[in-house]
């Protein structure tokens, strides 16, 4: 997936037993390679299967270039979680 260095990515985490909404935006270039790769995989193949049970986390990932939305997905906890959490950690 080709994402420009001037792109920025926003992650919104919802759900979980806490039910707290967390949101953070970072420059694509500021993410390490693992995080970029994880986000790219999620954007290409989001995990849309609804897992059984309750209180699971959901991540919305949005990539903007020059202020315009280019990519968006909603994904479950699977492979994307670590990359999405890396974005959220940048805010703390």
């Amino acid at each position: 997936m080709d994402v420009g260095d001037d792109a920025e990515v926003t992650v919104v985490r919802t759900g979980g037993v806490a039910g707290v909404r967390l949101e953070a935006t970072v420059a694509w270039r500021d993410l390490d390679e693992d995080a970029r790769a994880g986000l790219a995989r999620a954007l290409e193949r989001p995990d849309t299967t609804k897992p059984p049970g309750a209180d699971r986390l959901t991540y919305e990932i949005v990539v903007r270039e020059a202020g315009a939305e280019r990519l968006r997905c909603v994904t479950g906890e699977g492979d994307a979680r670590h990359a999405a959490e890396a974005v959220l950690r940048s805010r703390r």
Partner: protein, 355 residues
């Protein structure tokens, strides 16, 4: 052990009197078992409830398993629920690991609540083992019910601490299993918010029961032990005052409404299941504090029987749920009585129609 007593009692009696020693021993033990099972069947009928629930507490199952059956597994930081070692089983000594021992104790307190308050034998009322998984993932900021077990993360240490610290959260997760077993409230929109609310209600009641607190003494907070030291807030949710649990730079402001006028319409969070649960949560709080005393005895009983009612659809709205609570309260405690009035008042307070 066969539960089917196909040999007629008169024949068993005859064998017991006139058979060989081995036949007599067999017949006597069968007669004794048969009497126990008959007694359990009568007990099942008595416990089935006032509204003909599809399935009551299972006294037959209880004959075989009358106590908690806990199993705690340590995921050791992996995101797999079956790979890590089992670190504590029923009756085993403390491990010295706080998360494992808190999970074990919390599951025990939750089992005791359901059994002592409502005669319910575990999640499925048939003695289902209570499985907990601790140390799931690295800095995992969550706890969840996966349909078979409760899974607890350690938190990131900044926003959230380890999720086993909070007894009401443990009770909350296990109550998802009860909801799944009884009515399968769909995890979306208002039915999803009811699903979440029932978990908060029974999670709070687990804590109140364990602490011996009355409705007046309870804090009515969910997850009061979970927030990290720098977070501006007291808990994840407040049933007494939805929308006031936290107001923090990172977490934002608690978004829960306490009234239908403020119902949140959103596509996030499965349609706001953790947000709009504030409305039925507050209704329950009003009912419980209006009645006073131990909240699990009357308000909790009404909510439990509503959750088990065959008329509760998996797509129920707040109004559907409210109507059943009013009907159940009248049937359990007397039509037009104080409990029914309190239940009506609770729904009125949050703007949910019940007529």
């Amino acid at each position: 052990m066969s539960r089917c007593c196909i040999v007629p009692p008169t024949m068993l009696d005859r064998i017991a009197r006139h058979g060989t020693q081995a036949q007599r021993d067999w017949a006597l033990s069968t007669i004794a078992l048969d009497a126990t099972i008959r007694q359990a069947r009568v007990q099942n009928q008595l416990l089935r409830g006032v509204r003909g629930h599809r399935e009551g507490p299972d006294a037959l199952a209880a004959l075989e398993n009358q106590s908690a059956n806990r199993e705690i597994r340590d995921a050791q930081g992996a995101e797999q629920v079956m790979r890590g070692p089992i670190v504590r089983t029923e009756g085993g000594p403390p491990t010295g690991d706080a998360a494992a021992d808190e999970a074990y104790d919390g599951l025990g307190a939750t089992y005791d609540f359901w059994e002592q308050a409502y005669g319910r034998n575990s999640i499925d009322d048939e003695g289902m083992p209570l499985r907990g998984v601790v140390h799931y993932g690295r800095d995992y900021d969550n706890a969840f019910w996966d349909g078979r077990r409760m899974v607890f993360g350690d938190g990131d240490g900044k926003l959230f601490l380890r999720f086993t610290r909070s007894l009401d959260v443990i009770g909350h997760e296990l109550a998802h299993g009860v909801t799944e077993d009884e009515n399968g409230l769909q995890y979306q929109g208002q039915s999803g918010a009811l699903n979440e609310s029932c978990s908060d209600v029974f999670g709070s009641l687990v804590k109140q029961h364990a602490l011996g607190q009355t409705a007046e003494q309870a804090d009515w907070l969910i997850g009061a032990d979970l927030l990290g030291p720098d977070v501006q807030g007291t808990a994840l949710r407040s049933m007494a005052a939805p929308g006031t649990a936290y107001d923090d730079d990172v977490l934002g402001k608690d978004p829960q409404p306490a009234h239908m006028d403020d119902l949140v319409v959103t596509t996030e969070d499965d349609g706001g299941v953790h947000i709009n649960s504030g409305i039925p949560n507050h209704a329950f709080y009003v009912v419980a504090t209006t009645l006073g005393g131990n909240a699990w005895e009357r308000a909790g009983r009404v909510w439990y029987e509503t959750a088990r009612d065959r008329g509760l659809r998996s797509t129920a709205t707040f109004t559907d749920f409210a109507r059943i609570t009013v009907a159940v309260s009248g049937e359990l405690f007397g039509a037009g009585g104080a409990v029914e009035a309190a239940v009506r008042g609770g729904w009125d307070a949050v703007g949910v129609a019940w007529t």
